[in-house]
Structure formats: structure tokens, C-alpha cells
Assembly symmetry: C2
Homo-oligomer: 225 residues x 2
Amino acid sequence: MELELKIKMNEKLFLRDPEQTELGKKIIQYSIQLIHKNGFEAFTFKKLAENIGTTEAGIYRYFENKHRLLIYLTAWYWSWLEYSVAIHNNNIDDPTVKLKRIINLLALTVEDDLKTSHINENILHQIVIAEGSKAYLTNHVSEDNKDQLFKPYKDLCAKIGDIILECNSQYKYPKSLANTIIEMAHFQNYFMKYLPALTDFGNNKDELEIVSFLSDLVFSSIKQK
Amino acid sequence: MELELKIKMNEKLFLRDPEQTELGKKIIQYSIQLIHKNGFEAFTFKKLAENIGTTEAGIYRYFENKHRLLIYLTAWYWSWLEYSVAIHNNNIDDPTVKLKRIINLLALTVEDDLKTSHINENILHQIVIAEGSKAYLTNHVSEDNKDQLFKPYKDLCAKIGDIILECNSQYKYPKSLANTIIEMAHFQNYFMKYLPALTDFGNNKDELEIVSFLSDLVFSSIKQK
DNA sequence: TTATAAAGATAGTAATGCTATCATTCTAAA
DNA sequence: TTTAGAATGATAGCATTACTATCTTTATAA
């Protein structure tokens, strides 16, 4: 059985839907490779075009600029992760178990989802860790937000917040705690790799330590009277 | 009594020490204004030079590029904050009280420190909130780290980590919790302003709510058996 | 078969991110 | 007081970036 997974994206994110054409899919596939390899600052549509074997103008027919493409990639990732969370928590009743599984999904290395042939989720995860916050840390965040560009991130936070409330309906900061889990899963991962003096995970660099830290943080907060 | 505060900066951060000359101080002063006004992406040395009334080449004599200048500004901020923390916690013995004061310093609006006439700490604080993570979220983070460019941030984290251990010497993740406090103080502030659906602080947008959230998070974690 | 959408090919332009050079001014030591 | 050195000013230039425009060719579907 072969399945294809397609995520419906906000149309304001692109000029022409990249999922609809071969070139579009290549743009997504190769932009993930290139951003991961050289970082977002060094990434240009020119280089992307050369890698794909098309022209700069060709890329501009799909995305207004490289920042929009970054928002697209991160938005896609959050949507995919919400779907992934739903699958992993299917038939689970205990909210504590659900929350633990979410922390695992956020903090551990992601496996490539074969249902999305042109997207390597593992690499995309690393991009979201290192570049994700740049999607909204801009001067035009409010306009972008009005266009709903960050909805997938918000939806995921809302879902996690709801599970936090299932654990303890009295807890006062479910949404803030949800985004703390997400951001810190990524920051601890980044710090562990590149600025290890900032963490307590020393040299073994085991992602499971991040899971322990986050679990301790989250459950001591919400279990508290 | 008039006092001047001067922070000794890592010499790798600049080509010519901006604190030593009038032009240098203007570069710092106006770059803070401009980055805050237009955001770091739109900020260029050309525009900065025009604002100051000097030339682009003049700025390049002080800083290799705008990214180095951003690291300089954030490094300066973390050094100043460590000093500020030391002042505020002077003569305090109770580590819980110290930690609470640190959370206040991180999460509440900063007041301009008159001992640094060309630097507006309040605006710089806002820059660190919105642009600070871009200082280390780059492809050359490891080289920059080898040059000790992030030492002030690490030092502050270490200091906070030590106070956490004073509260509870058994707590396993003092450094990770320290950077969580710092990053989350800033992220919650940014989200509250620009992506309020992500937080639980709704429309009143009161920074004291961030303090409550962080205090709850931190103290429930470290008080736990 | 014929529109029409997508892609390819090419050109061009303003802004960005630098580097280089030479002249001028200012300061501090001889 | 002269003079050397440092800092600044003024100007030029160049490769790359970030686009926009136009025209042709190639698929595709009605």
C-alpha cells in the first residue's frame, strides 16, 4: 500500500502552489537541502535555481521571496507535526501519556515520513530548530499574522494547551507552557549541539536528556496544587 | 555625582573600539535606534552612516559587518544585565528572593541606565527580545563561539544556574533552566505583543503576568522533591 | 486544434555588502 | 613648533542580491 500525504497550505504563502507541479516540489525539496547546508542567510533563489536546474525567475513564480518560503516550510512542518501528534496519540486517553509523547516528538530526532516523498522531515526538523524563529522575528510579523501565516504553529500550541488543561484544569498558563515546551525542545537541542556550555547535557549529547528536562519542567508545573 | 559605566568588551567583536571615539559611540547609539525602528534585516551600514552623518566606509572601520555589530550589542546587553543583577541582588541572602529579582529584571521593562549616556537600555532590551537569538542562530555559530563572542550570555546563565542550585542543590538542570528563564522571558514578551493568541496573557498585556508565569514555572520545578 | 498554463531563456535595475585609495583634520610626542 | 600618526571624510568601484519584465518554447486539456 502506498500512501501520499498532502497538507493544505494557506494560499497567501505562495504565488503558485508548489505541491501542484514537479518544479514546485523540487523547489521545496531542494530549498530544504540548501537551507540546511548553508543556513538561511546564505540561501538565495539564484543558488536554489542552479541546484534545481531552473532559473531564478522560475522560483519567483512560486514564492514572493525567500522569507515567504521559510514561513511556508515552517508552517508545513507545524501542520505535519500536528498530524503526527494526532497519529501518535490516537486511542490514548491519559493526557499525561499524551503530553509525554508530544515531548518525545518535539525533542527527539524525527524520522523521514515516506508519505511525503519530496520532503525530508528529519532535515526540515533541523531547519525549524535553527531557523524557525526567524519566520516570525521580523518587522512585518503583525501583517503576516493577519494573513494567518502562523496558524499552524498556533493550532499546535492550542492542541498542546488543551492537553495540559486535561492534565490539570486549574493550570493558569496552558498556552504559554505549550509554546515553552516547543521552543525549549528546539533551543536545548541547538544549544546542546553548538553552545553546550549553556546546557546540563554535557558531552554525551543525548536527546533523551532534553526529554527528561522538559518532562520534569512540565509535570512539576502542572502537577503542583 | 556623575558616574560613567564602561563595559569591557571582547576585542574580537570590533575592528576599532567604538567606546574610544565619538564616532564609535554614535555608531552604537544610532544602530540601536535604527535596528529597533526598522528591524535587523532592513538595517544597513549605508543607512546607519546617513543617519550619523558619516560614510559607509567609516562604519566598516569599526565593525566587520552588521552581524558582528548585532553580537556586540547583545553581548553588551548581557554584560550590563549581569552587572545590573549584581547590583539588585547586593546584600540579599535568600536565593529565592534573588531568583525572583532576576525574573523581574528579565521580564519587566528596563529603565534607561544614565551611567551609559549613549546607550538606551530600554530600547536595547527590545532589540535583544526581537533580534537577540539571531546573534547565534547562524551557520558560523561554532567559529563565533570559539572566539568567545557569546561569553556574556553564558556568564549570565552560569550565574543564574548557581542561584538555582543555591535554592535546591539537587536540581538536575540548573543551566538549562537558566536559559529557559531568559529565553522565555523574551519570547513571552514578544508573543504577548505580536502573537497574543500564543499566550495566556490576553489583551491586558501586562508584563507582570509573564513574571507570574515564569515564577510558577521555575519555583515549581526547583521546589519539587 | 487551439488556447492557455507552465517553464525556459535572457536582460536589466536598484540596493546591498563590501574593499580600496587618497586627501584632510586632529592630536600628542619630539 | 614641527611633525608623525591616527581618525575621519570623500569618492570610486565591484560582485552579489533581490528582484521585475519580456519573449519564446513546451506541455496539456478542452
